[in-house]
């Protein structure tokens, strides 16, 4: 059986969670990654959902972050004021997962509009809690299936969720590092925090740095020690396929 894009991205993302104890994650790839990490590099890691569910034990795969199967049998369902105020803004989240329509070289994200905000070509859903995840998590991982210059852009059409560099320029000290890892179907971009650009640190087997640079809308820096990502191991694939998502709901 060949390795799907989801298996690849989930495996790679799970390895980055070693040491994390609380992760703020949405449904789909982030949940797959955390579930795999619980069985490999981070046995104690806990997923907190934006809906307020902590310690979920679903007996079926959830379809949304608020799915009834996440609530029944969970350890705690927090009021929204507690989830956003005490857990997220309180600084209790080590790693937040986010997606976006556009990302720039400092990891700032746009999920509001394509075009001008006042008369947009495309109205996107907006922040939801993304702005809060960015401002308050220790660090943020972004998983993007498609790596192309329209999404990896030199200039955002609109900055919904700013990283620490933009916050500092606005006179406010952020809690976390902002985006530290961007995991795509081509490789991994990384930065350590404020003041740094995202750099290409690893590519999937068979992908060249030049391919990634061409797929990126800015002049992407490449790490001196650029490495090749180890493909999902048999053990990782086995766990994903037989324990985490046996019905292949998200492992498409």
């Amino acid at each position: 059986m060949s390795i799907t894009s989801s298996e690849l991205l989930a495996s790679v993302a799970s390895r980055e969670l070693a040491g994390a104890s609380t992760v703020f994650a949405g449904i789909g790839l982030p949940t797959l990654a955390v579930s795999l990490a619980q069985r490999t590099v981070a046995p104690d890691v806990e997923i907190v959902y934006e809906s307020g569910v902590c310690g979920a034990h679903p007996d079926q795969l959830p379809e949304t972050i608020a799915d009834a199967v996440l609530i029944t049998g969970s350890e705690a369902v927090l009021p929204m004021t507690a989830l956003f105020g005490y857990v997220l803004q309180g600084g209790r989240i080590d790693v937040g997962f986010l997606g976006a329509a556009q990302i720039d070289r400092f990891g700032n994200l746009n999920s509001s509009v394509i075009g001008d905000w006042h008369s947009p070509a495309v109205r996107l859903p907006g922040s939801g809690g993304a702005m809060e995840v960015m401002a308050n998590s220790g660090e943020v991982f972004v998983v993007m299936r498609r790596h192309d210059p329209r999404s990896f852009t030199a200039e955002l059409d609109f900055c919904t969720s700013p990283g620490p560099d933009r916050a500092l320029a606005d006179g406010i000290r952020p809690r976390g590092k902002g985006v530290t890892r961007v995991i795509t179907d081509l490789g991994i971009l990384a930065r350590d925090g404020a003041g740094e650009e995202l750099r290409l640190v690893a590519t999937h087997p068979g992908v060249t740095a030049e391919q990634v640079r061409e797929a990126t809308g800015w002049d992407l820096q490449v790490a001196d020690d650029l490495s090749t990502i180890t493909p999902p191991t048999e053990a990782e694939l086995d766990t994903l396929r037989h324990e985490v998502d046996p019905a292949r709901v998200y492992l498409r």
């Binding site: 369902v77 929204m80 105020g85 006042h118 907006g126 922040s127 809690g129 809060e132 406010i172």
Partner: protein, 312 residues
């Protein structure tokens, strides 16, 4: 020493909407994926309300329907999308055409607006928005300087949002007693704050229950009677959203909505048939058919009771 009088606030959906939702009003409809007051939204469309400002964190299907019903001139929201199932066709068309005023916030920005409203505060501070383009397009989001030194000894600034005080807040819940003591389990969302922030509040419930049911577990009461003006019993009133322990989310409907709302003619036909063409929510429920409700039925997972104790 017990309370003697106890007012009965139960009424019909028709009367509740007619009395409390007026043209031009600011109406908050809350419920985060769970317990969305869909039936109330449909009744607003049936009664032809106009020029409403709708406040709703996750503006989803019912918001799109209200917009398509020409009820809404302004939207205050932090997420305008059809959950994981696609787009809101009418909302997107109108925003992209500049035909719907939109106040954009983040989720916590909306939560803090309700907190300020409920607490009668002039503003509420939060650690979001620093460096975002959102304050640039939303002049309601401002900055305050803290009167305490920052950790580094310098001056500290923080963004604030203004209070949101809806004319009426409408929420859906599992059950209430006749005077409005409202009990919710599963996701409780921002409903209590949205109710306390409002001038008037309508609670729509799956069941109006006997006083004794509520009083056996007072910690389950998320909204007390003194904050409620009308109690409407409307079973299955959240569809296509779910009600924990009562019925499941109708995922097929959400996926279908992206297709319906993507085509203005199809959307018009849908509204005519399902909302304007039904006299009330019980007709809508019946029209969905028994097979559909049987597919959404849920099994049992009962909480273990706790002892509140009694003085001997």
């Amino acid at each position: 020493m017990s309370q003697v009088g106890k007012s009965d606030k139960t009424t019909s959906m028709r009367d509740a909407i007619a009395e409390f939702v007026t043209d031009g009003a600011t109406v908050s409809l809350e419920g985060f994926t769970h317990l969305i007051p869909t039936a109330a939204g449909h009744e607003i469309i049936r009664q032809g309300r106009r020029d409403l400002t709708i406040a709703r964190m996750t503006a989803d299907v019912v918001t799109d329907q209200l917009i398509a019903g020409d009820c809404v001139s302004r939207l205050i929201s932090s997420f305008v999308g059809n959950s994981t199932a696609g787009s809101l066709g009418e909302l997107r068309r109108r925003v992209e055409a500049g035909a719907l005023a939109f106040e954009e916030y983040s989720h916590y920005g909306m939560i803090c607006r309700y907190l300020a409203g409920a607490q009668r505060l002039p503003f509420y501070p939060l650690r979001s928005y620093a460096g975002s383009d959102v304050p640039g397009i939303n002049p309601g989001i401002r900055k305050v300087t803290s009167p305490y030194p920052a950790p580094d000894g310098g001056e500290e600034q923080i963004y604030v949002v203004p209070p949101l005080n809806p004319d009426v807040t409408i929420v859906q819940a599992q059950r209430a007693d006749r005077s409005g003591n409202t009990q919710v389990w599963g996701l409780t969302g921002i409903q209590a704050e949205a109710v306390y922030a409002a001038r008037k509040a309508i609670v729509v419930v799956e069941e109006v229950v006997a006083d004794e049911v509520v009083r056996s577990d007072p910690n389950r009461t998320v909204i007390p009677a003194h904050a409620v003006d009308a109690v409407v019993e409307c079973p299955r009133g959240a569809h296509p959203a779910f009600v924990q322990g009562y019925y499941d989310r109708d995922g097929e409907f959400y996926r279908e909505w992206s297709r319906i709302s993507g085509d203005p003619d199809r959307l018009r036909t849908w509204l005519d048939e399902w909302v304007l063409g039904t006299a009330d929510h019980s007709e809508y429920v019946a029209k969905l058919g028994e097979q559909r409700w049987s597919d959404l039925a849920v099994g049992e997972a009962w909480s273990e009771p706790v002892n509140y104790g009694r003085r001997l």
